[in-house]
């Protein structure tokens, strides 16, 4: 029997794979370890301590920036998911027509446009709006975050919608449901895992953003990532590691929650 060619059986494949994982996760592991350093260095281990977590917790600027980040991410994720859901409903289960591909492209464009371009464009645009309206609150950041989160929320929602049987909507209409009732009783309950995934993804993407936030924020509007960026220009202490570790934990727990929810769904069906 001649063995067919398989990438998996090439010598060194496992080694390269292990190396990749190592390079990916070793720095993160190091970061987490040094968050518990008793000393003030991020490179020399001086014993175990939780002092940097306490220090971050007592740092007024960190707490304020975190709270701001969470608020922006929560509102932006909801807005982006709402827009993405509507966009997904409008672009799936339709017969192909001229311009449909263009619509996909427009919706997903923010994924491809360099973030710095979007950032500069928003900076210029919002500075005009600020002049006209005199308003300089968090609204600009929320709007900016909502805008670039839409494609991230759109992808899982559309994937879910595509896998849904189009005849379910017809069956509901046949059974006297109005379009609004179809959406409420059939489409939305079945779409919910996709919407939830979109919401999570948008939330994490917003929480994580540096470039656009840096350009759009007014003074005193630091989010956690931009605050950390600012701190890194000065002295680097394990406090940064501690904040990052908490951040990492938050992201991981969100992903875990979503994973558990979607697995339960699958068990049901």
């Amino acid at each position: 029997m001649a063995r067919t060619f398989s990438v998996r059986r090439q010598s060194g494949f496992a080694t390269v794979a292990m190396l990749c994982f190592f390079l990916l996760y070793l720095p993160i592991a190091a970061l987490v370890v040094y968050a518990f350093n008793a000393g003030t260095s991020i490179a020399i281990w001086e014993g175990f301590s939780l002092r940097w977590f306490v220090s971050a917790w007592n740092n007024q600027q960190v707490v304020e920036a975190s709270w701001r980040s969470l608020r922006i991410a929560a509102i932006a994720a909801v807005l982006a998911t709402a827009c993405a859901t509507l966009a997904a409903l409008a672009t799936t289960h339709t017969a192909p027509y001229r311009g449909l591909t263009a619509k996909y492209a427009f919706i997903n464009m923010p994924l491809l446009v360099p973030e710095i371009v979007t950032a500069v464009a928003l900076l210029v645009f919002f500075s005009r709006v600020k002049l006209w309206t005199g308003y300089s609150g968090l609204g600009y950041l929320i709007l900016a975050h909502s805008a670039f989160c839409v494609p991230f929320a759109y992808l899982p929602i559309r994937a879910r919608l595509e896998s849904m049987d189009a005849s379910l909507g017809r069956a509901a209409a046949d059974l006297y449901a109005t379009p609004l009732q179809i959406f409420r009783h059939v489409t939305l309950p079945l779409l919910w895992p996709g919407v939830f995934a979109g919401l999570m993804l948008a939330f994490i993407i917003s929480l994580d953003d540096v470039v656009i936030t840096e350009f759009v924020k007014s003074s005193g509007q630091d989010t956690l990532p931009t605050y950390m960026l600012g701190q890194l220009r000065r002295a680097i202490t394990p406090e940064m590691n501690a904040i990052s570790t908490v951040f990492l934990l938050l992201s991981l727990s969100l992903v875990t929650v979503f994973f558990c929810l979607s697995r339960n769904r699958k068990k049901e069906s």
Binding site: D165, R170, A171, A172, A173, D174, L175, P189, S269
Partner: protein
């Protein structure tokens, strides 16, 4: 038995058309589907039968013509405004609802009180023999059970007409046979007009009160199963329904609504013909394989030929005979006894044709 009487409705199609771009899916169909009738739209895939059904349901708007329910035009109504329910080919059950949730969905959308919905669901579960399964998830049911839930869901709001879009095609043969009987029983018990779409001629023949045979968007013939089988109007219908022998013959005379045709062998036999045509000259005659018998003396039959393949089918045996003029002819003989056939390939035989079984068909335009 029934908590409330079912109300049945009649459908009239008047010159109904449907175009998809350049494709004429349904071409000027005029049909009357009567009250309490089990009516079947039969045809090969792409003949327009499903499109026609979808227009009655309201999922497609006709490009022309009118659809009437009990004399009132419904062509412009949305699906949720028509007292007509559909059993879908893939069932289209709501996967996030229980069996009871699915069955009660229509009544819930109509805003009926909870007590009434509960009673209707219980009655439907009994009707489709799924008592006690109301709380099950539909995804845990077998194909046959899902089929019953789909039926119950469509019947629960008591539609005037039930539309069934090839509902049995996903079931295996045994289950399909028992569901055919089940459907027939449900139709008799409820008296609701059923419009059934299928490409399976056996299914159509065994269940329907009347059948409309369709091809290329047109209705070829409407009639009872026996009409369609024994008196096909044209070559397409004769060919599509069952197995058939076509013989080119000459029409000699017409008397009393029956023609006499001269077969290639020179023998003359009587043949019926479709209403509205006067056969003359060269005609095509249809003779079903079970209406012919083989005889050992070649001179005794209306046709003569040489036995070719002999195909044993359990209940029947098919003899493929090559006639003297070279055309093929199939004779079906029921295997009433065990034992080998008395005919063997290469043998010269005569073919006798039963009385009054030949039908002249039109070659379609």
């Amino acid at each position: 038995m029934m908590a409330a009487a079912y109300e049945s409705g009649a459908i009239s199609l008047e010159g109904v058309m449907k175009r998809f771009g350049d494709f004429q899916a349904v071409d000027n169909v005029t049909l009357d589907i009567k009250l309490n009738e089990f009516f079947t739209l039969l045809g090969p895939s792409g003949c327009g039968k499903t499109t026609l059904l979808r227009m009655i349901a309201g999922f497609e708007m006709p490009s022309g013509g009118r659809i009437l329910l009990d004399g009132k035009e419904i062509s412009d109504l949305l699906p949720n405004q028509r007292p007509v329910n559909t059993v879908f080919q893939n069932y289209a059950l709501f996967p996030h609802m229980s069996v009871a949730g699915n069955i009660g969905f229509g009544l819930k959308m109509l805003g009926r009180p909870k007590g009434e919905i509960r009673a209707a669901v219980a009655e439907m579960l009994r009707l489709v023999q799924l008592e006690g399964r109301g709380d099950s998830a539909v995804t845990q049911l077998s194909g046959g059970q899902q089929q019953r839930v789909a039926l119950a869901r469509a019947l629960a709001p008591r539609p005037k007409v039930l539309l069934l879009d090839e509902p049995l095609s996903a079931l295996d043969l045994k289950l399909r046979k028992s569901m055919q009987i089940e459907l027939k029983r449900l139709q008799a018990e409820t008296g609701i007009t059923f419009v059934f779409v299928t490409h399976d001629q056996e299914e159509a023949l065994s269940m329907s009160d009347r059948i409309a045979v369709m091809s290329h968007g047109k209705v070829r013939q409407v009639g009872s199963p026996a009409d369609i089988y024994h008196r096909p109007a044209d070559r397409f219908v004769a060919d599509f329904i069952g197995e058939t022998n076509f013989i080119e013959a000459d029409a000699v005379s017409i008397a009393g609504g029956v023609a006499r045709v001269r077969l290639p062998s020179g023998v003359e036999i009587p043949a019926t013909f479709p209403a509205g045509v006067t056969p003359s000259g060269k005609v095509t005659v249809v003779i079903r394989p079970e209406h012919a018998q083989m005889v050992a003396q070649a001179g005794d039959g209306a046709l003569r030929g040489i036995v070719g393949d002999i195909i044993y089918l359990g209940t029947d045996t098919h003899f493929h005979v090559r006639l003297d003029d070279g055309s093929p002819f199939i004779v079906r003989r029921q295997n009433a006894t065990n034992g080998p056939s008395e005919f063997s390939p290469g043998e010269s035989v005569g073919i006798r044709i039963s009385d009054n079984v030949a039908q002249i068909v039109m070659n379609q335009p």
